[in-house]
Symmetry: C2
Subunit: 231 residues, 2 copies
């Protein structure tokens, strides 16, 4: 075995190590995205900054478990945390993370038949706005032809919402139903396609005799399409 051969072997060896390291790093992001609860937390954080307890309640898990999932998300640099008094607030590390969530979910919707079926049964019945309607919706909302309502909790609305949308959390919708003009079409949206709030809102609106549609987008989807949100 001559020097050249040795050199080749060594270099092959180390180049394999380099490669392994690179893929290993990317896999860290994949690992972060490999747990359903972490994905749910990530989607919640797309709605805006929240503390551990808010996240735990909304994802319906224990605070401890939320904390541990959040620390995984943090160690993969998808989220950051900040202390404010007693509470620790988490938020997305960058807008690209929201885009990543939207793209991951889109890929899953497209590739996994099980997911398509589950979503289909969710959407069936409650009229859902087609994707290409975004620009039109924007125009009609601007002109006042349709009323866009954000049915998420008020704090999430405050952190960022669709243009021309007004906040009526689904919990208050029944008693505030009079605020909505009867002669206009209502478009309700929530956190995104996986969120059930808009569906609930549609039920209430239809029961009250309103013409109501759902927009499947949430703020993350809206932004991922390059459209701007308001604060």
């Amino acid at each position: 075995m001559n020097k050249l051969a040795i050199k080749t072997v060594v270099s092959k060896h180390s180049s394999r190590q380099i490669k392994d390291g690179l893929y290993e790093q990317v896999a860290r992001i994949g690992k972060a995205a490999s747990s359903p609860k972490r994905l749910e937390l990530l989607e919640l954080l797309c709605q805006g900054e929240m503390n551990v307890e808010q996240l735990a309640v909304k994802a319906e898990i224990s605070v401890k478990l939320a904390s541990s999932h959040l620390s995984v998300l943090k160690s993969s640099s998808l989220v950051v945390s900040r202390r404010d008094g007693k509470n620790i607030y988490y938020s997305l590390a960058a807008p690209e993370v929201a885009k990543f969530w939207v793209e991951l979910r889109s890929l899953a919707e497209e590739r996994l038949l099980d997911l398509q079926a589950a979503l289909g049964s969710l959407v069936a019945g409650s009229g859902s706005l087609a994707v290409m309607d975004r620009e039109m919706l924007l125009r009609e909302a601007a002109s006042g032809e349709v009323v866009v309502i954000d049915v998420r909790p008020e704090t999430e609305y405050a952190a960022g919402h669709l243009p021309f949308a007004r906040s009526i959390p689904v919990a208050e919708l029944k008693k505030r139903i009079a605020e909505i003009p009867k002669d206009k079409t209502v478009v309700a949206y929530c956190r995104g396609p996986f969120c059930l709030l808009a569906g609930e809102a549609l039920n209430i609106l239809h029961e009250a005799g309103h013409k109501a549609l759902r927009l499947e987008d949430g703020v993350a989807e809206w932004q991922a399409r390059g459209l701007s949100i308001q604060r």
Copy 2:
């Protein structure tokens, strides 16, 4: 507890189950992307269809292990397989999967300092073409001002390559070096930013006195930017 209360509880319960199911599905994609070796296989499949052994050799793992990783990728619908005689050939289930790989890697590059450092040390020294140069490269390659060479194995070139690129696998570069005009700038590319072939090619080219640059894109990156490839 009245009927309404019961109904609310039941519906809350089942809506949680629905949600869990949805996130669970998306997490299947995340799980598929949570192993470094699977990601490497996925990137290889972005170069074109390959059988299990080819994949195993290129990823430097056993055939058995490759097979088991591939079956995970298959069960998450990211890849599909087809039998041709004795061999089973795997390929991406859809072009969107290649785009997903590019986006996942980009997010990792952007968020993870460790990865930036590792990549930086790879690229350092070997001149690398900036991202905005893609359109210009295309024009200069079209006019013949620069020579674009694809240094991947020939079969990958055949499965799809950049416009105006000619195939000179890095293994043959030394003995075919005369084919490259001395008076033109050479741009070498391989499978993408994580691939070491283009780097090796640059060393050989520089040694032979050529002016050579690296394009970090592979065909997956090129396509993800909306540019077309040739067959």
